[in-house]
């Protein structure tokens, strides 16, 4: 299949991606087929690629808390709020989401306790996660630009609160490819359909090969998730019959490839069918929990109704991490019976108690399990919502959105444990020390993966684009 003569100039990578994006090129074929001849330039878009420098993390598990958990009631204690409860905010209130229904300062209804050797304070909403305090790197100075969910969720996922851009996971797999070709490189488990919906795992202007694969969506119960990934099961044929059929497809495809001088695109499609056939057997195994011990199931809370759903998602995340999926997102979403999730505009106590209960144990289980299996070292776990919540009350007993200063945390993957980075003011409204804008978060995550955010670019619509737009600073202080 020597199609392209050696003197042919190398076509640019960008050009190839645009033209035959996603194509299993000849280089990709070489890794799959012993008898395939190499050719210059063309690579399989998901083939593993070397990072820019030595990475600290090889994969990411992002635990997304849709709705915006309150930092003031979880990881950023504010004694001043307790002292001044009910008093008016002593400075001009910035733009909030629900103008007109906000009140005075609102103390946290939960106690904070110090945990571990580091003594990091964590509230009673997260007693299980708190036990991992010495592994947590709490980012207390997060800043975003949107006070409404839509823009904020999109910015967290894509860097932009205005335009459609590729999501963080797409950038990561564009930069690094993946080591397991039998599973998608970027999987998001039960993502939400609102606030950007699929835009939050789409590849935007990057080739479609980099888009996230959604497993179910928010609101779907795990019992109803018969096919975690679409089209992996053939409902009508036995494996024998399907292999027989595939052989026919391949015979026909081989025939047309022969007729068309071994057009690499046609050859690549022959390989795509073989890979698809392998995925059919290997991918379902990744989602099959029958091999997991009762102890493990219990560790993630699969034995209790409150934690079952999110526990399943977290356990899947570990199984996918073990199988070297590059970017795994676990979403806590709104759903029937939990209509607003973390978004406690009123009844903070009821809603945050309920939502924290659903995720605390599964997340702690995931951290325990990753550590026990030696995966936490090179897996970056990140936790957080699209913003935090206001130190003033809304509707008398809730909190409004606050993108001006809030908390996320990371664990594993080369970050300092038992460490709190940055700070908000004494009321917890604005980030004031070591401000970490979402662009900085993205720059830091890419850095941990061995990617320089300024070099990870893609040419589109007349210019080079980055996940971090024209901003982003790596928070070097949090690196272990």
């Amino acid at each position: 299949m020597n199609l392209v003569t050696p003197e042919v100039p190398r076509v640019s990578r960008r050009h190839l991606l645009r033209r035959t994006a996603g194509g299993f090129g000849l280089l990709g074929l070489r890794t799959l087929l012993a008898d395939a001849a190499p050719a210059p330039g063309n690579t399989h878009p998901l083939a593993p690629k070397p990072p820019h420098f030595e990475p600290r993390a090889r994969r990411v598990i992002f635990l997304f808390m849709h709705g915006g958990p309150s930092h003031l009631d979880t990881f950023d204690p504010k004694p001043r709020l307790t002292r001044d409860h009910g008093k008016p905010l002593p400075f001009q209130r910035p733009l909030t989401f629900a103008e007109g229904s906000t009140g005075g300062l609102f103390k946290s209804p939960w106690e904070f306790r110090r945990y571990g050797e580091s003594g990091l304070p964590v509230s009673d909403l997260f007693p299980h996660v708190a036990r991992h305090a010495d592994d947590l790197c709490i980012l207390r100075s997060m800043v975003g630009d949107s006070v409404a969910h839509g823009g904020a969720v999109l910015q967290l996922h894509t860097g932009s609160n205005t335009f459609t851009r590729p999501s963080m996971g797409s950038w990561v797999v564009y930069g690094l490819g993946t080591e397991n070709q039998n599973l998608p490189a970027f999987i998001t488990i039960k993502p939400g359909l609102s606030h950007g919906g699929a835009k939050n795992w789409s590849s935007g202007f990057l080739p479609a090969a980099y888009q996230g694969t959604a497993v179910g969506h928010g609101g779907v119960k795990i019992e109803d998730l018969k096919d975690p990934i679409e089209f992996l099961r053939n409902a009508g044929l036995t494996p024998d019959q399907q292999r027989y059929e595939l052989d026919m497809i391949q015979k026909m495809n081989r025939r047309s490839a022969d007729r068309w001088d071994h057009d690499p695109e046609l050859e690549a499609r022959i390989q795509a069918f073989e890979l698809a056939f392998r995925m059919q057997t290997e991918a379902p195994e990744a989602f099959d929990l029958t091999g997991e011990s009762p102890t493990t199931l219990k560790l993630y809370g699969l034995d209790e109704p409150e934690t079952r759903e999110f526990g399943w998602q977290c356990l899947m995340a570990r199984r996918l991490a073990e199988r070297n999926v590059r970017f795994i997102q676990v979403n806590h979403e709104y759903g029937p019976g939990n209509e607003v999730g973390w978004d406690a505009h009123s009844e903070l106590i009821r809603l945050h108690t309920r939502t924290a209960l659903m995720v605390d144990k599964p997340i702690a289980g995931l951290l325990t399990d990753l550590k026990a299996r030696g995966l936490l070292r090179d897996t970056l776990v990140a936790w957080g919502g699209e913003f935090g919540r206001t130190p003033i009350s809304q509707a008398g007993d809730g909190r409004d959105h606050n993108p001006y200063g809030y908390s996320m945390w990371m664990a594993g993957g080369g970050v300092k444990g038992g460490f709190a980075y940055g700070a908000t003011d004494e009321f917890g409204y604005y980030a004031v020390e070591d401000r970490m804008h979402i662009h900085d978060l993205h720059a830091t995550i890419l850095h941990l993966l061995g990617l320089n955010h300024e070099r990870l670019t893609y040419f589109h619509g007349g210019r080079n684009h980055r996940l971090t737009d024209v901003a982003g600073t790596v928070a070097f202080q949090i690196l272990a």
């Binding site: 839509g150 609102s194 044929l237 027989y244 047309s256 795509a272 059919q280 009844e347 619509g461």
Partner: protein, 910 residues
């Protein structure tokens, strides 16, 4: 516009014979005149009307109106008539030159207008960028192999191939050509009958007849309209944050399909989409319905309507429109200039905000204010009809409000009647849910209403969830005391709110008496007394019960409610018909637009009047005195003075036929875009397109009947070596079918494609609950209409569309990518959709028991691949069916049909 054969060449040929005096005349009199009187508008910086008098090249190219010099009759040259102020164009506009100055120019022109080459040191930066320059069409070049060239297109292509020492690929065989052109124009495969008819037609016009037949088919607009819908980033919802439906977007989609089917001249298509609402109407009420619908082009962009910074939100909408207009019609990324002057193209922030002023003076939303802004739906009706409809809506709303107020009053009465019993009912409820008392007996013993007690039990019984406001009650050591505390707090809240309302009413009366704006009604926060809020709302025990509501009303209230309901019914019965609505834009309040420094609306810079980008339209423009300026923008975009718009669309037409444009960045004709592979061809086609009335169908005929289009996609070794990217068009580019073609032809293969045109498949307005399945777009598996008619919810496109590279329907798309990945193979192998198509086709093949298997195989080949099988393929198929594991004949046939559908030959156009 007429053009002569290469005027440039004549001038260059003339440059050899310089007479000193003529050069002196030019340098001493003519050039200084050009510099002092003309360069401001026709110089290196600015080329109004496309004219650049700063270089010989610019002078020779002339203006958009044509060459400046008439070589056949120099005294009649356009330059001289303009300078003499005798024709329509009078230059300079500020005042006629002196007779002596005009005489000097005349003398120079009559001498052949020599422009000394030595003096021609125009820096490259000063020359008009290629895409901004006026059209410079040249005659098709001569070729050696003249027999190959079927039309002008072929001569341009072949001349270049010959100069590179390459031969064009051999012609595609007729079957391949027919499948190629049929998919190209209709997105569907040719039928067996069409194939046979074509193969049997030996006349030289056989191909032309096929093209005419396909162009006349309504399927043509469905395919080519879809191309434009990609450029127009068409979708049926706002996407972004809330993903609200655009319930009437489909009218714009249908308009686009119809425009292509009718071959609406493209310049008119531009004008309608930018300012159709402002164009003259032929309808009696003066409303340009079609034009209004066409402005969906502007109205249907993604919008973040829950953004709380409303100024930012509004200017994001404006920006999105500048972006789509720039990319779609001009091939320019104008929106880059929102925060800073464009880094690469001559677009300043002043240019940007001058355009922003136009869109900001356009009505974009029904209501900007509020947590979620309201989308604008424009009635497609005359003013009188609209007024009637609005008045009716007002009456309905008022009557509903009256009913709501009555029920609120009655609810308060109900609450106040029962409130004194709160403590008693709380204690009784406790006796039931905590002490296990039998409800009926507890009620009877305590003289309470059993139904009401049941509601209190429901409300108070402990749940798994933390309800902070009930914790005091549930943990009370002395329930009697605590129950009274809850009751007292409840009554206190009632009193406080009543008082606040009474104060407000007095304040309103006073304000009205004094002619002041009345104060806002008091707002009560639910969380201030969560117990109260829950008890009086929804299923709370003191909320007027939904069930048997009327039984709880007093006699008078019941009568009043019935009367109001009857009145509402009468109003609804007398409703005028709802006018059809469109997602469109209309004229808004004119704004005074300033530059926003670094894009920040709070940082106002200098004022900018409405106008078009200076680098394209010149520094001196007719001021836009009234209105938004969209009408003027539409006129300028589609005017002969703007060479970009026709170049951009002609390039897109080429791209949609040949897989790549002559300019391979079809939406970027700026400096970061690519240059045309064949600039002369592009300008030839563009000039011809304009001359022939911007007819897209004419351009199809020209391109499709060329031998360039008819080439095989098989590349010779020489072509691959010398032309690996096919920039010389040495062969046809093999392409993968687009998602619409894949899905629609699979439906066509088993005969289940529903060819109904137009209309809406989406219902409702607004958005859905966050996690509702309804948020997903309609599943293409479940509706058999052509894919172009399925509504697109931006936030959740059907996975099939993502799988086969539909794009994101959010920004103007310059073309689809073609990926080739394993999940697509899984779709072919395992999806219920393909399985259903295969089974259904198999069942049809098997329907007549008498048909021999070989004939069935042939039918299957025709239906899926539009060709008969070769003998060995038939043998192979028959053997496949015979040896199918398990021996189930129906399953075997279905499997064979699926294999055909999964084949490369189906998926690719060669």
């Amino acid at each position: 516009m007429r053009w002569t054969c290469c005027p440039l060449g004549l001038f260059l040929a003339a440059t050899g014979a310089w007479a000193g005096d003529r050069v002196e005349l030019f340098e001493k009199k003519v050039r200084p005149l050009f510099v002092s009187k003309c360069h401001d508008c026709h110089g290196a910086k600015l080329q109004m009307g496309g004219l650049n008098l700063a270089s010989a090249e610019g002078f020779r190219q002339g203006s958009a109106g044509g060459p400046l010099v008439d070589e056949a009759n120099p005294p009649q040259s356009r330059l001289l008539t303009a300078l003499s102020h005798v024709g329509k164009v009078k230059m300079p506009p500020a005042g006629k030159l002196s007779e002596g100055e005009i005489a000097a120019v005349r003398e120079w022109i009559e001498a052949g207008a020599p422009w000394p080459p030595t003096a021609e040191a125009t820096p490259a930066a000063g020359a008009a960028f290629w895409s901004f320059a006026p059209l410079a069409p040249a005659a098709p070049p001569a070729v050696r192999n003249a027999g190959w060239a079927r039309n002008e297109v072929d001569r341009f292509i072949l001349a270049r191939l010959e100069s590179e020492g390459l031969a064009p690929a051999p012609p595609a065989d007729p079957r391949t050509w027919l499948r190629r052109v049929t998919y190209d124009l209709t997105g569907l495969p040719p039928s067996e009958a069409e194939l046979r008819a074509f193969l049997d037609d030996a006349s030289p016009t056989a191909r032309a007849r096929v093209v005419d037949r396909l162009l006349a088919s309504p399927r043509y607009g469905e395919r080519w309209g879809r191309h434009w819908l990609d450029v127009a980033r068409y979708a049926d919802s706002t996407g972004a944050d809330e993903d609200h439906r655009y319930p009437y977007a489909w009218r714009y989609r249908d308009y686009v399909i119809d425009a292509f089917n009718r071959d609406l001249p493209f310049d008119q298509f531009i004008r309608e989409q930018v300012a159709g609402d402002l164009l003259p109407s032929s309808e009696p009420d003066g409303v340009n319905r079609r034009g209004l619908i066409a402005t969906g082009f502007l109205a249907l962009g993604p919008k973040l309507i829950a953004e709380q910074d409303k100024v930012k939100m509004f200017y994001d909408i404006v920006d999105e429109q500048i972006d789509v207009v720039g990319r779609a019609f001009l091939g320019l990324t104008l929106a880059c200039a929102r925060c800073h002057d464009h880094k690469f193209d001559p677009i300043s922030t002043r240019d940007y905000y001058a355009l922003a002023s136009i869109f900001a003076s356009t009505r974009q939303l029904a209501k900007l204010e509020g947590t979620v802004s309201q989308l604008l739906f424009v009635p497609l009706a005359g003013p009188a009809e609209t007024a009637r409809w609005e008045a009716h809506k007002g009456r309905v709303e008022a009557k509903r409000k009256e009913i709501d107020e009555l029920l609120a009053e009655e609810g308060a009465r109900y609450r106040d009647r029962l409130a004194p019993g709160i403590a008693a009912y709380m204690l009784a409820a406790r006796a039931v849910y905590l002490d296990g008392g039998e409800p009926a007996r507890v009620a009877a013993n305590r003289g309470l209403d059993a139904a009401l007690l049941a509601r209190w039990v429901d409300y108070l019984k402990p749940t798994k969830e933390r309800r902070a406001h009930l914790e005091e009650w549930h943990q009370a050591p002395e329930p009697e005391t605590t129950a009274r505390v809850y009751q007292e707090r409840f009554l206190a809240t009632v009193r406080e709110r009543n008082e606040a309302r009474a104060r407000w009413k007095r304040a309103v009366e006073e304000a009205q008496a004094e002619g002041r704006t009345p104060p806002e009604p008091p707002r009560f926060l639910a969380g201030e007394n969560r117990f109260y809020s829950e008890v009086v709302a929804g299923k709370g025990p003191l909320a007027l019960p939904e069930k048997d509501r009327e039984a709880h009303l007093g006699e008078a209230a019941r009568a009043r409610l019935h009367a109001l309901q009857a009145e509402l019914k009468a109003i609804l019965a007398a409703a005028p018909p709802d006018p059809p609505l469109a997602c469109a834009v209309v004229e808004g309040e004119p704004v005074t637009q300033h530059v926003f420094v670094r894009g920040n609306p709070a940082a106002k810079g200098e004022f900018v009047p409405k106008r078009f980008p200076v680098a394209l339209a010149g520094e001196t423009q007719t001021p836009i005195a009234a209105g938004s300026g969209r009408r003027e923008l539409a006129a300028w975009l589609s005017s002969p003075a703007n060479p970009l718009a026709p170049r951009v669309i002609v390039n897109r037409l080429w791209q949609w036929h040949f897989g790549e444009g002559l300019v391979r960045t079809p939406s970027n004709f700026g400096r970061l875009g690519e240059k045309p592979t064949h600039p002369e061809l592009l300008d030839y086609l563009t000039a011809r397109f304009v001359k022939e009335g911007w007819s897209i169908k004419n351009m199809h005929r020209l391109l499709l009947l060329s031998n360039t289009y008819g080439m095989s996609s098989r590349a010779s070794h020489a072509a691959l070596a010398k032309d690996p990217e096919n920039r010389l068009w040495s062969r046809f580019l093999r392409r993968r079918l687009a998602v619409e073609e894949i899905r629609d032809s699979l439906l066509a293969a088993d005969g289940s494609l529903d060819l109904t045109m137009g209309g809406s498949l989406q219902s409702g307005e607004g958005t859905d609950q966050e996690f509702a399945e309804a948020r997903k777009s309609l599943n293409p598996d479940e509706v058999n209409r052509r894919l172009v008619y399925l509504p697109l919810r931006r936030s959740n496109l059907p996975s099939l569309l993502n799988l086969f590279d539909f794009g994101d329907a959010t920004t103007s798309s310059e073309g689809r990518t073609q990926t080739n990945v394993a999940p697509q193979a899984l779709f072919m192998m395992n999806s219920p959709f393909v399985a259903a198509r295969a089974s259904s086709l198999a069942a049809q093949l098997l329907a007549d028991a008498a048909t021999p298997d070989a004939a069935r195989v042939a039918q299957a080949y025709y239906r899926v691949l539009s060709r008969p099988p070769e003998p060995e393929e038939t043998d192979q198929a028959v053997a496949y069916l015979r040896r199918f594991p398990g021996g189930d004949r129906t399953a075997a046939w279905a499997s064979f049909c699926r294999a055909l559908m999964a084949s490369n030959e189906f998926l690719y156009l060669f």
